[in-house]
Symmetry: C2
Subunit: 446 residues, 2 copies
């Protein structure tokens, strides 16, 4: 029986446990926890690493952030690195390679056997955000002639692969013919022919499918593993659910960052230089739209000079429009991401947004109108403010709906730049409608 | 061997296939696909449903959106409903119950056997956003005395549970003692004693843990299944990875919605009434801050009256500050959500944000200063604009950093309301600094 180990005495075990203790316990400890410990106790890291077997070291390297994997690997001798790389899965090595310079990549490649080299080169040739780019080439192929017992005995001899949840049945040309889940195998009697429990209706993804599309399929079907094939149904690899969780988080980060006007790659711990270059282009785009809006105000300087109170109220009209537009934009962008805004319900949702715009326009318009009227003791001033506010709220919701929908049609990420466009509309048109209306009735408000 | 079926002839099979065809094929088809078909061909839905066995019907009801599950269930006779409920997992029934009125809940409960009733009542007693609220009570308990072969034979007789990826070893008091993965079982020889492959160091979650915390643990460890225990390590249930994907999407939607100023529950296909009531409170909060900013402008009406160009330029100063603040806010909120902003790196990140603020302030400040100078042919006007812009950019990044961090400390969702606070700061202070500076040098700019 294996040993129970608490988090407190894990460090002790790793540093001072006997070889036997270590061997008895090491595979009951999650490599992520060992990695945490290495980060926390940097002074003991090397002595711990020296005591661990190759397969555990490979697991730990796999757990490490992609950009730090190489550094961790370089702590070992070349021959040790060879063994560790041999235990790592092809997709993890590909992720590691993606962070390296060309000479470092060559260094890694020459430490791998020719079969692994070929796998990694192939994976690197796929778009990193496609199914091919996130799959691994390690999976279990079986042929269809055996019984459950034969298959179990085959698995008992082939304990290397981690992706054992499903076994894939292929023909001699490696064309995918069916899938058997481990669950079906363990719940079928030993003499059941495998073909009786094979499901020939396998859900697959194409190597060129976008990772977001792949994530949607995983979500829909709740799979742990999906096979990746080419156009002729040749089995290329498999994608695991935990990589899908990473994809989902990556896509969400992308949406949130784009909505907030920063690059998708920026991280909270990016350097000043990285953050600055992630943000300054967006700020410059925003500056253009701000200048555009200012140009509109500039057109009406003569009006403002006669009724300075307009300058006080105008940021309310544009600001509230911007807020309402951002609300609609947020809902529409999220709806597009989750696949909940479709061709079928697009018109219905547009009408809903117009409805919400009218209702909010009435409520906020009336409040703003009263406020403006009281401030200036002038009902016409109130009326102009309220009318401009009402119109800008409706326009805001139209812009918040159409801009992301049109960007999506143009195959541009709807989260990207939508916000800038929406506030350009609400600022430019808000100023124009408010100051334009005011100019029309100027004699009554000065 | 099972039959291959294409998507095109699935409808034909479901409607016109012989009973034998149906039986041979039905368990190779994913219930999500059958549900899609039912939605697409509403006219055939009832005839298809009438031909399907209870366990497949249960799967289809589980696939249906929570709010539509009851309606689907009501299509069947009471006795058929009993059988379907009997095949459904306790967490799915709990999700269904969550959407129902009290009398409908009672109707469902009385159609369940007493053991299932107890399970569902128990699950309903947990906070819906805690580990207890998302777990299911169906999992496989084993006792520790058997061999691999005995266990396989036990599984062959107990094919009901879907959560077979891990088997949990418990003692007589149901205290969790260890876990065995299916993978370890199939890769161990038949005569291996189970205790040899049991991992006693099981990662668990407490029933009261927040679902976001649970999701972080799944992400960290890449688990398919995690056991939920009480304070005394009694086994209460398990959480599956596909429920975790739902949690992750829910938490992301919450962040995106809060950043965009809408309620977390709003959906793209919500009704006008639902959307309006999701958004109007946020708009009203924003209106208060807009009025606050307008009050600042109002203080300086005398200044503006003498230099109307200030009215043209002032929205640029506040707007750009708002954009920069939103950028920092976005990065900080996402960093908090992903657990990447920690106590250890908080100061470093604050300094980074100040650095970025200074750099962007210099760049945008100089551009704006030149523009303003050229517009008015007045270097002092340019200097005032540039200085206010520079200061507001730095202030923006400070606000974008501190506001979410402080909200997090107060255990308020940092995405919630952060945006309003940040733009309040950049608007109020932007107007104040710009118009205040302009007032100080007024003789030189008119």
């Amino acid at each position: 029986m294996k040993r129970t180990i608490t988090e407190e005495n894990l460090l002790d075990l790793l540093l001072h446990g006997t070889a036997q203790d270590l061997q008895d316990t090491i595979d009951t400890i999650h490599p992520a926890d060992i990695l945490d410990l290495l980060h926390k106790h940097k002074e003991h890291a090397q002595s711990i690493l020296n005591r661990l077997p190759d397969d555990i070291l490979a697991d730990i390297v796999e757990e490490e952030d992609d950009e730090d994997k190489y550094e961790l690997l370089k702590r070992f001798s070349d021959s040790k690195q060879r063994h560790i790389l041999d235990e790592m899965s092809s997709d993890e090595i590909t992720d590691l390679m993606g962070e390296l310079e060309e000479d470092e990549q060559a260094d890694i490649l020459k430490k791998m056997d020719s079969e692994d080299q070929e796998d990694v080169r192939k994976l690197m040739s796929f778009d990193a955000e496609s199914a091919g780019g996130i799959m691994t080439t390690e999976f279990i192929r079986i042929f269809a002639k055996n019984t459950v017992k034969d298959t179990l005995q085959f698995l008992q001899k082939n304990t290397d692969e981690e992706t054992t949840y499903y076994l894939y049945v292929v023909d001699r040309e490696d064309v995918l013919k069916g899938v058997v889940s481990l669950r079906d195998i363990v719940t079928s009697s030993f003499d059941t022919p495998i073909m009786d429990i094979v499901n020939p209706n396998v859900k697959t993804v194409l190597y060129s499918d976008d990772q977001e599309e792949v994530a949607h399929r995983f979500e829909k079907y709740g799979f742990i593993l999906m096979p990746v094939v080419d156009e002729q149904q040749h089995m290329l690899g498999v994608i695991e659910f935990d990589d899908i969780i990473d994809v989902i988080q990556e896509e969400n980060t992308e949406d949130i960052h784009h909505l907030g006007g920063v690059n998708k790659e920026e991280r909270v711990d990016s350097s000043v230089r990285e953050s600055f270059s992630s943000r300054i282009p967006w700020l410059i785009v925003n500056l253009f739209t701000a200048v555009l809006a200012a140009a509109v105000v500039n057109m009406f300087e003569a009006t403002i000079a006669q009724a300075v109170a307009l300058a006080t109220v105008m940021p309310i009209v544009t600001g509230m429009g911007g807020n309402a537009g951002t609300q609609t934009l947020t809902i529409v962008v999220r709806g597009l991401s989750l696949g909940e805004l479709t061709k079928e319900n697009a018109v219905e949702i547009l009408l809903k947004e117009i409805g919400v715009g009218i209702l909010s326009g009435i409520v906020i318009g009336i409040v703003v109108a009263f406020g403006a009227m009281l401030m200036e003791s002038n009902p016409i001033f109130g009326l102009v403010t309220g009318a401009a506010m009402f119109l800008n709220m409706i326009l805001a919701n139209l812009a918040g709906y159409f801009i992301p929908v049109i960007l999506e049609k143009l195959h541009v990420d709807p989260a990207l730049a939508s916000g800038v466009f929406v506030t350009t509309v609400t600022d430019v048109m808000g100023f124009f409608m408010f100051l334009g209306l005011a100019t029309l009735v100027l004699p009554y408000i000065i």
